[in-house]
C-alpha cells in the first residue's frame, strides 16, 4: 500500500503561481532570432516579406504551404509573409516591423528615399543574382531607383504609367441621351448634363483632389498635375501656382455649386459601396476601381446594360486634360537587418525569369501551384485556367502571399494572359486588358515636368521640417476653394499664406534636386 501525499493549499498556489509566472515570461520573451546567414551550403535561407494582400488574413494555409514548397524546390529559398493591413495602417505596421529588433523582415515596398539608411544598396546583389530583374526594366525605371551618386536602392514597383487615369462614363446613360463618349471638356460637361437630365441622382465622383487633378487639371494649365519651372525665377513651383490653376478651381467650384460633384468626393468614402448605388455618371478616380471593383459588382449583380467606358483623351481650353502618372520612386527594398539579401534577389529573379515570354513563375507567385491551383490551357497563346472561381473565399485559396513583383515588369507582362472560363470561352480580364493596352500609352496625357527625377523627400523634409505641413496646407485650402468654404477672391491671401508656410524653401529644395538631373 502506498501513501499518496496531497499537495497543501499553499503548495498548490505556489505551483500555480510558478506556472503562471513562467508562462508570462515565455510569452514576453523575444523569439529566437534566426542565425545570421552566410549562404552556407547546408542552410536553407528563410525570408520574410512585408506586403499587403487581397486577403488581409492570408489564404488557405495548406495551399500557401504547397506554393511555399514549390518555390523552395525551384529556388532553394523558404518564403514567408508578414501580411500588412490594408490602407494607412500598412505604413504603420511596416514601420513597426522595420523598427522591430525581433521580427524578421527581408523585403518591403515604399518610396526608396524615405528609407535610405535602413536599406541595403542593391547594385551588387542585382549584378550577381538579378540578371533577369535588371533586364526586365527600362533605363528610366532604373534611373528612378538610383540616388544621384548612382547607387540602386531597390527594384521597381511603380514607374511612369499611362493607364491609371481616365474619365469613365456611364455608357447606358450616354446611349439613352444619344451621346458618344466625349473627347472635349465641353463634350464632357454636356454628356454629364444630359445624364443628369434623365437621372437626377447622377453625380461626378472624384477620388479626392489628387485624382481629380490627374484627370482634369491639364485642361486648364500647361503642365497639368505637375511641378513646373516658373520662367519668372527659373525655380520649380507647386502645380497650384501654375497659370490656369485658379480657372480650374473656379470650374471645380462651379461643379460643386451645381451639385455635380459628389459631396463625399474629398472625404474618403466607401467607393465600392458608392459604385453599387449606380448613381455615378462620371468617374474621375483611380482606374482599378472600375476595372476591378465595378467589373466585379457588374458580374455579381448580373448587370447587362449598366456599364462604364472611358475617354481616351479629353481636350480642354488649355489642351489635354489628363496627366500621366510618374508613379514616384516606389520600390521593393531590402532592409539592412535582412539575414538573407541574396536569397531575396534570387527569389525575385526567379519570378522575372524567362519573362516576358513565359510568365509561369509570376503566375505561381500569384495564383499558386500549376496543375493544382491553375493550369496553362495554351501556354504559347497565353491562355490559362484557374481551378477556383474569382469569387472563391480567402480561406479556400492561395492568396498571392509570395508575390513580390507587382506593378511594372512581370505583372505588366502577365496582363497578356487570358482566362478560359468554365463554359470554355476565353476571356481577357478587364483589368489586365486595360493595363496591357495602356500602361505605356503616354500620348493621351501630359508628361509631368519632373517625371524622371527621383526626389529624396526625406532630405527635403530634414532641411524643411514643415514640408509635410506645407503640402497638407495646400491640399486643405484647395479643397476649401472647390467646395466654396473659401471664396476664390481670397486667392491672393492664399498665396501669401503659402509664402508664410515656406513656399520659398520648398521651391529651393525641390529645384536643387531637380537641377541635379536637369542642369
Amino acid at each position: 500500500m502506498t501513501t499518496q501525499s496531497r499537495p497543501t493549499r499553499r503548495q498548490f498556489l505556489q505551483g500555480v503561481g510558478m506556472v503562471a509566472t513562467g508562462a508570462v515570461i515565455a510569452a514576453c520573451a523575444p523569439p529566437v532570432a534566426a542565425p545570421a546567414g552566410d549562404g552556407g551550403a547546408m542552410e536553407t535561407p528563410e525570408i520574410w516579406f512585408g506586403t499587403t494582400n487581397p486577403c488581409p488574413g492570408g489564404g488557405n494555409p495548406e495551399r500557401t504551404d504547397a506554393v511555399r514548397q514549390l518555390i523552395l524546390e525551384e529556388t532553394g529559398v523558404l518564403v514567408n509573409t508578414n501580411i500588412l493591413p490594408p490602407g494607412a495602417a500598412a505604413t504603420e505596421k511596416l514601420n513597426l516591423l522595420l523598427a522591430s529588433g525581433t521580427q524578421p523582415l527581408d523585403l518591403f515596398v515604399g518610396n526608396w528615399p524615405d528609407f535610405k539608411g535602413i536599406t541595403l544598396p542593391m547594385d551588387d546583389l542585382l549584378e550577381v543574382h538579378g540578371a533577369d530583374i535588371l533586364a526586365g526594366h527600362s533605363d528610366l525605371d532604373w534611373r528612378m531607383m538610383k540616388d544621384f551618386e548612382g547607387t540602386t536602392w531597390g527594384y521597381p514597383r511603380l514607374g511612369l504609367m499611362g493607364h491609371t487615369h481616365f474619365p469613365y462614363f456611364r455608357t447606358d446613360w450616354l446611349a439613352e441621351a444619344g451621346l458618344e463618349i466625349p473627347d472635349t471638356w465641353d463634350g464632357m460637361e454636356h454628356a454629364y448634363e444630359a445624364m443628369k437630365e434623365n437621372h437626377d441622382e447622377a453625380v461626378i465622383v472624384a477620388m479626392g483632389r489628387r485624382h481629380l487633378m490627374y484627370n482634369t487639371l491639364g485642361a486648364f494649365t500647361e503642365h497639368g498635375f505637375s511641378r513646373w519651372i516658373d520662367p519668372a525665377d527659373n525655380m520649380l513651383k507647386p502645380p497650384e501656382l501654375q497659370p490656369g490653376y485658379q480657372d480650374w478651381l473656379a470650374k471645380m467650384n462651379e461643379w460643386w455649386d451645381n451639385g455635380w460633384l459628389q459631396r463625399e468626393s474629398f472625404a474618403n468614402p466607401d467607393y465600392r459601396a458608392m459604385l453599387k448605388t449606380l448613381t455615378i455618371g462620371v468617374w474621375l478616380g483611380w482606374y482599378s476601381r472600375m476595372t476591378i471593383w465595378w467589373d466585379q459588382i457588374r458580374r455579381d449583380a448580373g448587370y447587362e446594360v449598366e456599364d462604364y467606358d472611358f475617354a481616351l483623351k479629353i481636350t480642354g481650353p488649355a489642351g489635354v486634360a489628363k496627366t500621366n502618372n510618374a508613379g514616384s520612386n516606389s520600390a521593393y527594398m531590402i532592409p539592412r537587418k535582412s539575414n538573407y539579401p541574396e536569397a531575396v534577389i534570387k527569389y525575385a529573379n526567379w519570378i522575372y525569369e524567362d519573362g516576358p515570354d513565359d510568365v509561369t513563375n509570376y503566375l505561381i507567385a500569384s495564383w499558386g501551384v500549376p496543375g493544382e491551383d491553375w493550369e496553362w490551357v495554351d501556354k504559347e497563346g497565353k491562355v490559362a485556367r484557374l481551378h477556383s472561381a474569382g469569387s472563391t473565399v480567402c480561406e479556400e485559396k492561395y492568396s498571392r502571399d509570395f508575390q513580390i513583383t507587382l506593378g511594372l515588369g512581370p505583372e505588366t507582362w502577365a496582363t497578356a494572359v487570358k482566362l478560359q472560363q468554365d463554359d470554355g470561352t476565353i476571356e481577357w480580364n478587364r483589368h489586365w486588358q486595360h493595363i496591357n493596352t495602356y500602361w505605356n500609352q503616354y500620348e493621351g496625357g501630359r508628361m509631368p515636368v519632373d517625371f524622371d527625377v527621383p526626389y529624396d523627400r526625406t532630405a527635403i523634409r530634414d532641411a524643411f521640417p514643415g514640408e509635410p505641413d506645407f503640402e497638407r496646407f495646400v491640399e486643405e485650402e484647395s479643397i476649401k476653394f472647390i467646395t466654396g468654404a473659401r471664396p476664390i477672391v481670397e486667392w491672393g491671401n492664399f498665396v501669401d499664406e503659402m509664402n508664410n508656410a515656406g513656399l520659398e524653401q520648398w521651391s529651393e529644395l525641390y529645384t536643387q534636386q531637380f537641377r541635379l538631373y536637369h542642369p
Binding site: 494607412a88 505604413t91 523598427a99 474629398f266 472625404a267 466607401d270 509635410p468 486643405e476 479643397i479 499664406e497
Partner: protein, 330 residues
Amino acid sequence: MQQPLGEQIRVRLEQDAPVFAEKKGFQEAWRQIKRDRFLYALAALPLLYFVVFRYLPMVGLIIAFQDYDPFLGIGAMFSLDNFVGFKHFTNFFDSIFFWNVVRNTVLISFYKLLFGFPLPIILALLINEVRITVFQRTVQTISYLPHFFSMVVAAGIVRAMLTPQGGLLNQAIVAFGGEAQAFLTDPNLFRSILVTMDIWQQAGWNSIIFLAAMATINPEMYEAAAMDGANRFQRMWYVTLPSISFAIVIILIFRIGGMLDAGFEQILLLYSPSVYSVSDIIDTYVYRAGLIGRQYSFGAAVGLFKSVLALILMYMANKVAQYLGQEGLW
C-alpha cells in the same frame, strides 16, 4: 453595520502608522507585508502593468530631444550624438498647424466636456428615479450598449447613417422633400457630430459611477426630506446631487486632466481633408508625423508637449476643486 472595504483599509493603515513610526524597521515592514501578502499579491500584477507599460516607456521620451532613428536600435537612444535639444518642440511651435491643432484639441474636448459631462449625471438621476425595475434595467442596457461597440464599428454606423448616398438620415430628409447633405464633410457640423457621437456612445456607461454613488446615499435622508415636504425634484436637487458631489468633482478632475485626449480614434476614422481645419487634433498630428511620416522624434516631442499640458490642466483642476471645498485627488 460592516464598514466599506476602503474604510477598513484606511482604518487599518491609521492603526499601523504609529507602529511604523516607532519601529521603522525593515523587519516590521516585512512582517506586515507577509501579514497582508494576499493584498500585496493582488496589487502586484496591476503595479507590474503600470511599471512595464506606463512608466518604463517614459524612458523613450528622451527621443523627443534627439534626432532618433528607430532602425538603429534602442542603443542609439542613449547616444549623445543625436541630441538636438528643443529642436522638435520649436519645429512644432513654428508649424503652420500648431495653433490649429491646439485649438481643435481644446475646443473638441471642451465641447465634449460641456455637453458630455452633465448628461451622464442627468441620466443617472433619471434612472435613479425610475421605480419600475424592468424599465430601469432596459433603459440602462440600451444606454450602455453603444459603449461596447468598437470605435471602428461605431464610426461605421455613423458613416452609414450620414452618407449622402443612401444614408438613413439623408433618406429621411429626401423623403420629406429636402436635399441630401454631406454632413461629415461640412466643417460647420463636424464637431457637433463628434460630440453627439461621443454622448451616444459614452453617456450610458459614464452614468454607472454616478448610479453607484447614489446607491450609497442613506435612505433615511430621503425619508427625512419627504417628511419635511420635499417633492421628488427637490429631493433630487437637495439630497441626491449634494450626496454625489464628491464623485462629480473627482470625475470632473479626471475629465479635465484628460481634456487633451479629444478622441483620436474617433476623429481618425471620421475626418477627411474637407474638415481637417476643424478636426485635426494633437493626436492625429502626432500619428501622421510619427507613425506615418516616420518622424518619431518629432512625434514624441509633440506627444510630450501634450502630456505636460494635460498635467498642468489636472493640477489646476485639482486646486480649483480644493479651493471650492472639495477633497480633490491629492
